[in-house]
Amino acid sequence: MSKTDWPLWEVFIRPRRGLAHTHAGSLHAPDAEMALRNARDLYTRRQEGVSIWVVPAAGITASSPDEKDSFFEPAADKVYRHPTFYDVPEGVAHL
């Protein structure tokens, strides 16, 4: 078994009444089919009505911590960049 490659997979789960898939954790599995089943055991306890995505960790490109400043630091002094001048209309649940 040690000779088999068990790569890392990232698991995203949408709960029964959830709106979006959320990163739940990671696991090792030989392929997507097995990763899906392992994810069900490890992260959902086989609850009905959940949706699971598994993605090979190698397929994910992450932003680099070195670029944090240029990537994420908002230009806070340019207030017009932030949509804070609007009242959220009533009934808009997920803004």
């Binding site: 090792h28 089943r37 055991d41």
Partner: protein
């Protein structure tokens, strides 16, 4: 006491005990969780069936091997991983057929859902190992030859074998394994005649209860 409940309960209890022996010994952490999960499902089924047959703890802990009515298949030692997987395949496909034939029964309906998952798990591994490397294929074929005789006992007193074969045979074929000829068919489990493995299993399972009879846990 319903004999059928006792049979189903004993099968599930002994199968659970064997699977639980894998805990922390599986080939991968994820597989450890999966096997423990299945063992838990089976123990749950055992509790339901035995509770319907009588007092679950009395039945589990205070009967001798001659009083247990499980099929011999489930009491056989785990062997290697492939051996365990194949035994799980045979037993869970049998359970799937059994519970389908019991539709409407509260316990069977509940267990059927779990068993579908067990079959799926065993099928995936059977395909992987049977059609994996030369080594894994050889081990699976050996396990198959060894276990096949013990599958006949599952179908004593029922007509589930045709349905069972229609599920099992295609899986074995897809896994590139050769289904053995029917021949020797050991039997006796249902009437308390077991292999030498059961009494060791029970000694371990029952030791505490027998040392402290009547204690509450």
């Amino acid at each position: 006491m319903s004999k059928a409940d006792l049979h189903h309960g004993d099968d599930a209890l002994i199968a659970a005990q064997r699977l639980a022996e894998w805990t922390s010994r599986a080939p991968e952490l994820e597989e450890d969780v999966a096997l423990a999960n299945i063992a838990l499902d089976l123990l749950g089924q055992a509790r339901m069936f035995l509770s319907r047959a009588g007092d679950e703890d009395q039945l589990a802990y205070l009967r001798t091997d001659r009083e247990f009515t499980n099929v011999q298949l489930v009491e056989l030692p785990n062997g290697d991983f492939g051996h365990t997987i194949l035994r799980l395949l045979f037993f869970s496909v049998y359970q799937q057929q059994l519970f389908a034939s019991m539709r409407g029964d509260e316990i069977a309906d509940k267990a059927a859902k779990e068993v579908a998952y067990h079959v799926d798990h065993a099928r995936m591994w059977t395909l992987r190992l049977g059609d994996g490397t030369e080594e894994s294929h050889g081990r699976m074929q050996r396990a198959l030859d060894e276990l096949w005789p013990f599958t006949h006992e599952l179908f004593e007193g029922n007509d589930l074998r045709a349905g069972w074969l229609s599920v099992v045979e295609p899986i074995l074929a897809e896994a590139t394994l050769t289904r053995p000829e029917d021949g020797w068919a050991p039997t006796g489990g249902r009437s308390g005649v077991h292999t030498q493995h059961l009494s060791y299993l029970l000694a371990e399972m029952q030791v505490l209860h027998r040392a402290h009879p009547g204690a509450r846990w």
